[in-house]
Symmetry: C2
Subunit: 135 residues, 2 copies
């Protein structure tokens, strides 16, 4: 049950890298040399981050990407949502047909409680916190 898929993971690394390089413009080529991520895959990932307004892109020669918002405001939660869609540990297996059998579905209740905790934690992990020397 991967919490973080490959693309999310690469995104995190790329963003960390960009945050560390003092928000200069970086090209995909530079990044994938540093991070050893397959180039076309990384391109796709950065394009998504651009659409989500997390990165800003500049086209043309000497173009590239840079952070569009502060690294403090980019959280693991938002990245997971960006690449993996809505955060949901468990959906209702049966759509209202059998659920009532197990009164008020304790499974869901308990799982949701755990989920709320995890979401809270993930919202608290920012790119800044990942590149900071201590923490």
């Amino acid at each position: 049950m991967k919490l973080i898929t490959r693309d999310t993971d690469y995104a995190i690394r790329a963003l960390c890298c960009m945050a560390k390089s003092d928000n200069e413009l970086v090209s995909v080529s530079d990044l994938c040399n540093k991070l050893r991520i397959p180039r076309p895959f990384l391109r796709k990932i950065l394009q998504i981050l651009n659409k989500k307004k997390i990165l800003r892109s500049i086209k043309g020669q000497n173009g590239g990407f840079k952070l569009n918002i502060s690294s403090r405001r980019i959280t693991l939660f938002s990245l997971i949502v960006a690449f993996q869609g809505n955060f949901k540990f468990n959906e209702c297996t049966f759509k209202k047909s059998v659920c009532p059998e197990i009164k008020k579905c304790k499974i869901r209740k308990k799982i949701n409680k755990i989920e709320r905790y995890v979401v809270k934690q993930l919202k608290n992990i920012s790119i800044l916190s990942l590149v900071a020397e201590r923490g």
Copy 2:
């Protein structure tokens, strides 16, 4: 990032059902009538639970399944592991090649901390706790 997949979920329900029916022998037919789970799929699931010694099976006419251990000792954690393999929120994306770049891999550290909490919680949710009237 589903924490609980369909088979695990069905297993939970089946076990809850068996725990509630005072540990009588139940056949797959009975169970899938009650729970509206596709029969051959439920069979496969119960066979797995049998191999994991969570259920005990009795072959032949009037055969079926029953709990092999106390419902208090069957945890969500053990069921997730049984059906979904080792519990791991995140694996190392790069096998030692780039990891060191991000010192001591804070991503992993932070994710693992969350994971430890979740595992602890899941070990604390037993089938008994799911069928109990209050809790």
